[in-house]
């Protein structure tokens, strides 16, 4: 028990958990975009849910508990349900395996690879990045910040949601007058 506590305090468990969640996130993400077994959007959506949940795990590891909750509630809960609804609504058949254009694939990989390599190089050049984590995710502090310094963006987002709402109604109503 003490050993476990030790491990926890030294962060070993977190480290292990990090690796687990990170691997889970990435693997699920890969399965979202390229599932060798199914090309159905439903599968993609399901794996996206998994990705999001594992990310929530990462958030927890980063002590962002509130955001982890939001992540699961909003993303995995609301957004993904929306996705699934739409998929079902559209009654999408499994996507036909159209011929993958090799040229497109290769150039796409090169482009993305290029971007990733630039990102990673930039990251590598930025020192070792082994500072100890400091911040404790306090929901209270977060809320205070949100409603003091960031009131205005917050309000704008509310307008944005209104607009989105109107937009969705306009776009999906069967008949408009």
């Amino acid at each position: 028990m003490e050993a476990i506590n030790n491990l926890i305090s030294q962060g070993a468990v977190q480290d292990v958990l990090f690796w687990v969640f990170a691997a889970l996130t990435l693997i699920c993400a890969i399965l979202v975009i390229a599932n060798p077994f199914s090309r159905s959007p439903v599968t993609s959506a399901m794996f996206l849910v998994l990705t999001i949940i594992s990310m929530a795990g990462l958030f927890v590891l980063l002590h962002a508990f509130f955001l982890a909750a939001v992540q699961i509630l909003v993303y995995a809960g609301a957004v993904m349900v929306l996705f699934l609804f739409v998929i079902m609504l559209l009654d999408l058949k499994e996507e036909q395996r159209r011929k993958i254009k090799l040229f497109g694939l290769v150039t796409g990989l090169i482009a993305v690879g290029g971007i990733v390599s630039v990102f990673l190089k930039a990251l590598a050049s930025a020192g070792n990045g082994t500072d100890a984590p400091k911040l404790e995710g306090e929901t209270y502090a977060l809320g205070k910040l949100l409603f003091t310094q960031y009131t205005l963006p917050f309000e704008i987002v509310s307008v944005l949601l209104l607009v989105a709402m109107v937009g969705v109604i306009l776009l999906s109503k069967r008949k408009l007058e």
Binding site: L123, L152, P153, I156, V163
Partner: protein, 485 residues
């Protein structure tokens, strides 16, 4: 906290809500006239802003520095309001092709609110949310003609690419904030120079520029513009061409010259700006050359104009920034004049081919003159607004060339000239189509409502005024960019 600074924005949002509510109480056939109410309200706001009454034209910062009201934001806010007014005029003319017209008006007003916030945004959170407000509103506005496949297709294209650019931008913001720990532009400016060597920071800057480049349709992020311009309802296209672009520019200028001026003036970034500007000009003009679809032509021309505007950014001096402002003001009237004509003329036509303009000078001399003046101004010919704007932009680049001695500026100047020459060709093709087509199919006169006539005259007056009496606007623009570095 100086919350009264945002009274203009609040009024605009309120207006949007009122419009939406009024819809409920208006009979369907009268709803189109809600547009005039919106115009009137915006007109009042504009006057208030000019008259300085209330707190519409106060300067200062609010919300912990996230919101700033200065000359620059004031200039752009007025520009946006004028744009919205004119777009609303066009929208009223276009109303017979739109269902749910009052929602359309209110969405325009909400987009305007987003733009107003963008004009005042002074931190990344504001930048992000205001851009998103504009963008998401535009998703809806673009795909508003639900019964038209092109409109929906344009909407989807704008949606996917817009989201993609948002993703890049937000990642960039994350990196910038991660390295510097600052979200506020003013505070960032104080520390930015320390991070000049940080690759992550530079990466973040570039990714933010990707997002902004998308908004202004600069190469290589211009790819969406033609399809979206073509598919969207004409008033939306007009608002995209001026409002969205101008919002992109005000944010770009804030970001480059207020948040990270020390980085902007570095060699790598300034060279990039030069190259992007040059290629954008060339790309837009070259692609427009064989184009026959009028809206698509204007899309390409809009890309090239983004390039010209970037000249002022690339020049990295106050005159260049002022020139951008001036140019946008001229561009506002010009583009709206063009889209007004398109909205009115191509009403019956399925295609938007240039040939649809045949015989326009007989069908409606005023519209013919309006479009001609718009094209001539876009081509940059005196005595219209476009000429003086281009003159100012070129002048600023020459200044930059002579103060820095960077040979890239000379190449850029040359490129800009080549672009202008190419553009003459397709603009005059349009003019030729108006006056000198072989046999016009349709010679029925075009009825213009009084409001449409008023709009046309307003645009013409604006184009001429900016070309002939540039003094006041130019001084204002110079004053407005005083805070930028």
């Amino acid at each position: 906290m100086n919350a009264s600074l945002i009274s203009l924005e609040i009024s605009v949002i309120g207006l949007g809500l009122v419009l939406m509510l009024a819809d409920l109480f208006m009979p369907a056939e009268r709803r189109k006239f809600l547009g005039y109410a919106a115009i009137a309200a915006l007109g009042v706001l504009l006057l208030a802003s000019f008259a300085g009454c209330g707190s519409c034209s106060l300067t200062g910062t609010a919300f912990h520095g996230a919101f700033v009201n200065d000359g620059l934001s004031l200039f752009f806010k007025r520009l946006f309001i004028i744009a919205a007014i004119l777009v609303l005029f066009v929208a009223v003319e276009f109303s017979d092709r739109l269902t749910a017209i009052s929602e359309y008006y209110s969405l325009i007003v909400f987009a305007l609110a987003g733009m107003l916030f963008a004009a005042s945004a002074n931190d990344f959170a504001m930048l992000f949310v205001s851009i998103e407000l504009i963008t998401i509103t535009f998703y809806v506005l673009v795909s508003f003609q639900r019964n038209k496949l092109a409109s929906l297709e344009a909407g989807v294209k704008y949606l996917i690419l817009g989201a993609l650019s948002s993703a890049f931008m937000i990642f960039g913001i994350a990196l910038i904030w991660g390295t510097t720990g600052q979200l506020n532009f003013t505070e960032l400016a104080a520390v930015a120079s320390q991070f000049a060597d940080s690759k992550i920071f530079l990466l973040g800057v570039l990714l933010v520029l990707v997002g902004l480049g998308f908004k202004i349709a600069a190469f290589p992020f211009q790819i969406w513009a033609p399809d979206v311009y073509q598919g969207a309802p004409t008033p939306t296209t007009a608002f995209l061409a001026i409002g969205s672009k101008a919002a992109g520019f005000v944010l770009l200028m804030r970001f480059l010259f207020s948040a990270i001026p020390s980085i902007t003036h570095s060699h790598a970034l300034s060279t990039m700006l030069i190259i992007v500007s040059g290629i954008t000009i060339l790309y837009g003009n070259l692609c427009a050359l064989p184009q026959r679809n009028l809206k698509r032509l204007l899309a390409y021309s809009s890309i090239s104009h983004a390039g010209y505007l970037l000249l002022g950014v690339a020049a990295l001096n106050a005159n260049g920034q002022a020139a951008i402002l001036y140019y946008l003001a001229g561009y506002l009237f010009t583009v709206l004049a063009a889209f007004l004509v398109i909205a009115l003329v191509l009403r019956q036509l399925e295609t938007e081919d240039v040939s649809g303009l045949a015989g326009l000078n007989q069908r409606s001399p005023l519209l013919a003159a309006t479009l001609t003046i718009a094209m001539v101004s876009l081509a940059g010919i005196p005595p219209l607004a476009g000429f003086f704007g281009k003159f100012l932009l070129l002048k600023s680049v020459v200044e930059a060339a002579q103060t820095t001695g960077n040979p890239g500026y000379y190449c850029l100047l040359f490129t800009a000239l080549v672009g202008v020459v190419i553009s003459l060709y397709y603009y005059f093709n349009v003019v030729r189509a108006i006056y000198w087509s072989k046999e016009p199919k349709d010679v029925s006169p075009i009825e213009m409502s009084g409001a449409a006539k008023l709009t046309a005259w307003l645009c013409i007056a604006g184009i001429f005024a900016l070309g002939l009496f540039p003094n006041a606007v130019l001084n204002f623009a110079l004053l407005a960019v005083g805070g930028l570095k």
